[in-house]
């Protein structure tokens, strides 16, 4: 199985890019399966299944951060895609917790960013950008060329070695170079591992402690003016 993971903030154009890519995969007779991981609501699976007739699925992460949900279910998702006879599995994830990233070793990690999102976005999204292989910048039709150049620079400043692809995804412009990279992806190995290191902090709020203030918590903590420090074993 070859795995391609598309991450990016809400409404940045992930699905639009994916549909354009699948169109080209069809022409090349490459079999693709698609999974959407979202927190509360998603309908892309039905839409893509209807449009292309390929196997699709959705997973609600609910209480989990979508990236964590990804980690928990991806092995079974790959097995599912294999049973469906697909050669490629595309995962679209909302990737909302900006401390970890959804990318897996040997997969192709694609972060989708919209050009209209402001010049500081590339600095704000951490490993979702820095651990990706390709950054697709969508909605270039909505900004000037000068702004495109500056936005691209900001992306490269945050992630030096990333491949930047600019796209007007509505019209399928800039999609071919993405497909080229997808065709070159290697098979994933089992067991699968996440790329990069997970965040050091274990969140005590996540395990149910509601009291406000550092003194009520343990693990990696901070106060208003201090750096991070550790309390516990």
């Amino acid at each position: 199985m070859k795995l391609v993971i598309f991450a990016g903030p809400p409404t940045c154009g992930k699905t639009t890019v994916i549909r354009q890519v699948i169109k080209r995969m069809e022409v090349k007779k490459l079999k693709t399966a698609y999974i959407k991981i979202d927190v509360l609501y998603a309908d892309e699976d039905e839409m893509i299944n209807k449009e292309f007739g390929i196997p699709t699925k959705k997973i609600y992460s609910g209480e989990l951060c979508p990236d964590h949900c990804n980690v928990v279910v991806l092995d079974e998702a790959v097995e599912w895609a294999e049973r469906e006879g697909a050669e490629f599995l595309f995962v679209e994830t909302a990737g909302l917790c900006l401390r970890c990233s959804p990318y897996v070793e040997n997969s192709l990690g694609i972060v989708v960013l919209e050009a209209t999102s402001g010049m500081n976005l590339p600095r704000k999204i951490g490993p979702m950008l820095t651990l990706a292989d390709i950054s697709v910048i969508t909605k270039i039709d909505l900004i000037s060329q000068a702004e495109r150049e500056v936005f691209r620079y900001r992306v490269l400043q945050a992630a030096k070695d990333i491949t930047v692809v600019e796209s007007n995804a509505l019209y399928g412009i800039g999609i071919d170079p993405i497909v080229k990279q997808i065709e070159k992806v290697q098979h994933i190995d089992f067991p699968m591992f996440l790329k990069g290191n997970p965040p050091v902090g274990t969140c005590t709020i996540c395990v149910g402690k509601k009291e406000i203030g550092a003194k009520n918590h343990f693990g990696v903590l901070r106060t208003l003016d201090s750096d991070l420090f550790y309390v516990g074993e």
Binding site: Q145, R152, D176
Partner: protein
Amino acid sequence: MEIKKITIRGGIGKDGEREKVQEFELKMGDIISIVGPTGCGKTTLINDIELFANYNTPSQRQILINDEPIPDDFSFDPSKHPIALISQHTNFLSDLPVGEFLTIHAAVRGAENAENIIEETLDFANQLTGESINRLTGMTELSGGQTRSLLIADAVIIGNSPIILLDEIENAGIHRTKALELLKKYDKIFVFVTHDARIALLSDFRIIMKQGAMQKVIYTGIEERRAAQELKKIDDVMLEFRRLIRAGEEITEPVFNENIKNLVYNNI
């Protein structure tokens, strides 16, 4: 890559029929216009040029540089992109102050003397606007005309691209005769999408479009060049009225008569 010429090969119009104009060339120093009714595909044509379309856009056009097509997956480092497209946008979305934005753009473009270049860019832009653009102003706060002026100045001076595509510069109330005058000092290929008779007649040739397709190419002959000179008079009068109105003057009978008396035409 040194660009000597660009060839535009026609594709299909909105109805799927082949375009009547099947090929034309742009050489260094050419000024051309693209004209036609709203929605006829003018912007689409210059977008195809900017993207170096290779049968991969809805219009199925192909663009050649020095007689060679650009492969599908070839993508220019945008900072070395030989084409600057000044789009119809009249607002920026970048949340940066003008000065900082220009500084980054100059760095991206590898400018050696960034400070001078930024100064020159602002100076160029401010010759086209009513009220000057300040370095500390947020890009998103600029007016439509200020935005257009800055886009043009940025493309010509910071971008320093050999080919400049301008989508309807006459809109947004900038000083377009001044713009034309300033632009002509630079040796580049200029492609104007325009609804303006004078810009069209000052071009070397113009492409007429309809229904998404290039219909014909008209070279500007001697008669048309003379006509352009005569039309300048109407234009100048209109600009003067505009200036007066903007300045809060009233167009009284003597003011009107004084300005209109210049309108004596010669035969062409």
